[in-house]
Structures are given as C-alpha cells and as structure tokens.
C-alpha cells in the first residue's frame, strides 16, 4: 500500500475533462447563436435610442379622470380574475394532488392524476388563455379558466410532493383505529401538509395577480386588455400609469402573501 502511495503522486482534485469540454462547447455555441440573431452591442445601442424616445413619451404618467376610471375598471376585473382563479384552483388542487400522491392513491389513479397535472403544466398560462379565448370567447371567463389551469398545475404538483414526503407513521396509526379513508386524510395527512399548502396558495395568489395582467393582453379580460388598448393607441403616458398600478398591486400582493405564510407557520 505504501509502495503505491510513494510511486504515484496523489491528486485530491482530478481534472474533470468531460465537464471542461462541455463548458467550452457551450460558450462557443452562445457566441455563434449571438451572431446569428444579431445579439450585438451595435444593435443594442441602436435600440437604446428608440427606448429613450418611448420613455420621453411616457412621462409624465397620465392621471386624467377618464383614464383613472378605465384603470379602476380594468384593475378590479384583474383582481377578481386572480382571486376567483386562486380560490377555485386551491379547492380543486387538494383532491387532484392527493390523487397524484403515490403513497396514498392506487397506482392507476396516481398515474392518471400525474398525467393530468403534467398536461396543465406543459403550456404557459398565456397559451392556455389564447386557447380559452378562442373556445369560450373574449372576456374574464377565459382569463379565469386559464389561471385556474395554471394554479392547478402548480398547486397539485406541490400537494402531491408534500404528501409523498410526509411521515407515514401517524397515517398508519390513524388507519389502525379503523378510520375511514377520508378521516385518515383529514386527521393525519392534512395536518402534516397544511402549513406548506397555505404558503403555496399565497404564492399562487401572488403569481395569479401578475398573470391576470398577462392573460388580459390576449383577450382574457382585466387590466391587460386596457394595457393593450393603450399601447395600440400610442397612449404611452397612460401605459406608464397602468404599469405603475400593476407594480403597486403585485407588491401589495407580495406583502400580503408573506404575511399569510408567516401567520400559518
């Protein structure tokens, strides 16, 4: 043993050649793709001029009474879309998430639920919103449906994961009392996952507030529609007002959701 140790110098951190080569290839590809797409400094500088022009036309933001009325109508609709979608999503995600948890649900049910969740997660809310606008028509309903799908995709997956990570010991004990399945869920599964679930729900409300503006742009109702109209009419000063309002709402939402998470820790 000492012979081998003497004859060969010992290396603590051997070079990882595959990783090095992979990294060099990645850098080379980024450089190549940038030239193809004209992602260059020159192009950026030309764009800046345009940007300065836009900013100049945005200031000062437009707080005229008729604009504020439009803003108010759009904003309340967006808030309603976000809140309805979150509540419905939260209520539906619990059963769907439980059905997808492989430690509780029978295999075929768990796989079916997982497939459904994967489907919900595979498309961005904007694409889902476009599909709903085309199938149920313009307006808030399409936006609500799109955000319900997004909420279900996110929340059900996290519910399923939390349930799979929880301790099975209390579940086993409650099962041993002869409890029916739903009572087992209520008394031993939900208490273990509820705090995290409320945290996720608060985060989802936050995210739905942001996305409710987005789905409006493709015809799903709310402030997004107002924003799109303002852009199309070159009312850039009103655009700034709307953007500021969205930022304010999202920040308030973030504070509220953080507060909710702390309350249920």
């Amino acid at each position: 043993m000492s012979d081998a140790a003497l004859s060969r110098p010992r290396v603590a951190f051997p070079p990882n050649w595959p990783a090095r080569i992979g990294f060099i290839v990645l850098i080379a590809y980024v450089a190549y793709a940038s030239t193809i797409l004209d992602f260059t400094w020159d192009r950026f500088m030309r764009g800046l001029g345009q940007g300065a022009n836009l900013l100049a036309r945005m200031f000062p933001p437009d707080f005229a009474a008729d604009k504020m009325a439009l803003l108010y109508v759009g904003m309340t609709e967006s808030l309603q879309i976000a809140i309805i979608a979150t509540v419905v999503g939260v209520l539906l995600s619990l059963p769907l998430g439980l059905a997808a948890a492989r430690n509780l649900a029978p295999r075929p049910l768990a796989w079916a639920a997982r497939a459904l969740i994967a489907l919900f997660r595979s498309l961005h809310p904007v694409i889902v919103a476009i599909l709903f606008v085309k199938s149920v028509g313009f307006g808030a309903l399409a936006g609500i449906l799109a955000l319900i799908v997004a909420s279900l995709g996110f929340l059900s997956k996290l519910v399923a994961e939390s349930v799979e990570e929880m301790s099975m010991k209390p579940v086993e004990a409650v099962r041993a009392t002869g409890s029916p399945f739903l009572s087992v869920v209520i008394m031993s599964v939900i208490p273990q996952v509820i705090a995290r679930f409320i945290g996720f729900s608060a985060y989802q409300l936050d995210s739905n507030l942001r996305n409710s503006a987005l789905v409006g742009i493709v015809g799903g109702g709310g402030i997004g529609s107002t924003l799109l109209t303002a852009f199309q009419r070159f009312d850039y000063d009103f655009v700034l007002t709307i953007v500021l309002a969205i930022i304010a709402i999202v920040m308030v939402g973030e504070v509220l959701s953080g507060w909710m998470r702390r309350m249920f820790q």
């Binding site: 209390p170 004990a173 041993a176 009392t177 002869g178 087992v184 008394m187 208490p191 273990q192």
Partner: protein, 269 residues
Amino acid sequence: MSVSATATQPPAPGARKRERSLVINKLRKEYRAGQPVLRDVSLEIANLGLTAIIGPSGTGKSTLIRCINRLVEPTAGEILFRGQDIVRLSGPELRAMRRHIGMIFQEYNLVERLSVIENVLCGRLGYVPVWRAWLRRFPPADVERAFQLLDAVGLADFANQRADQLSGGQRQRVGIARALMQEPDLVLADEPTSSLDPKTSVEIMELIARRAAERNIPAIVNMHNVELARRFAERIVGMSKGSIVFDGPPDALKDTHLIEIYGGEGWLE
C-alpha cells in the same frame, strides 16, 4: 360471510371471554417470495393480562403484531378474533374490526401538528362520521372520555398543547390514551418502550398493564427488554427466525431459552 353475520348479533352472556381470545393459525408472511419472515406461526391468546413477545431484531415480532390488525398483509394463515378471520376481511369489515384493536407504536406515531386532545380523539375515528372529524364536532361523550383518559395517563394539563411539544414519555402516554379511546377488545404494542429511558419505560409498561387489566382485555407487547418482560408479563412468547421457540410464564424462562432465542451466551453474565 355467514361468519360476519353472527358477529353482528349481541354477544351471549358468558361468550365475553371467548370473544376476546385471539387465535393465530399457521400465519405466514413473505415480503419476498420464498423468504418467510413468519414461518407458519400458531399462537392462541386466550388469557387476559399482558403477553410479551421477545426476540432479537428482525425476527418477525413486529410483522406478527402488524399482521393482527393488517397493517401488514399476511401471505397465508388465519387470525380469528371476535368470531371472524381477520385475514379474510376487507373494506368496511376490516375497518370495523380495527376499531376493536388498539395499537401503541414504538415512535408513538402521533400527528405532531395536532393538539393532544385531537390525537386522543383520533381513537374515535372508526366510530364517528367523516364530517364530524372534518369539523372537529366529536360527540360530547367522546370528548368527555378523552379528557378522562388524559387525566388517567397524567396529562390533564396538556390537552390543548401541540403533540410535538411533549417529551417521549408524554407522547407515549398520548399514544396509549388514543388506543384506549377506541374501547378496544385487544391492545397491541410494538416496542412501546424502545425509544424511552429506563425509568419512563417502567412507567409506560405499568400504565399499559394496569389499563389493560382495568378493561379486562389482553395486551400483546413486543419488546427487546427481557427484564421488563419478566416484570410485567404473565406470559412470555420467545421468537427466533420467524418461529416461536418459547411459550410460558416468566418463571419458566431460563437462560437456556434465552440462548435459544437470542443465540450466543456471552451477553448473559
């Protein structure tokens, strides 16, 4: 199903004792085909009082006890209790049977985020409808009994604390109260003192023995500790490699039996 029909009739006087006896016939469990953990174990527990099952780790004690309330699925054999073969039960019949079998666990298996009283009331879940569990509207008589049981196990002041704030010994007392809350006809305990210090272990064993005696029901307790088994059990069953190798009163358990159960002899001073 003719068996279950007779079980729903009110028990005839004098049938009480027979009803509480447990008969295990040729019980076999293989987690992997061809590698039995329980090798056709037969055991009849007709006595009241505490029966201790001793034996080394991995010898099938836990599997045996968990087969009785079907937390583990037996591969073959029968388990007769209250006039039914537990091995054949499923769905509502199995749940109805489980109500009558209280179980105490090594790691207490409490729902940590629920209060102590909620944990004790979990023992009633086999009896109360789901909506009552959901709204925590347990029948007043059950709530009253839960408080009485907490008094009896010495945790009267802890009813509204969360279970994760208790010490190990206190948690096990809650576990015992939960099992008794079922008004069981049989108590199973799977290494109830293995996670506890020696003094608390004695207190917990005393509690189990006393409560089982008060209810006039048998208790089957798995344990490592031979001294505790000698002290509290009226009957000791020794297991080794999936079979029963000793069955008798504590006095009859000699060093030769212990060597047969645990192997070797250097550990016997």
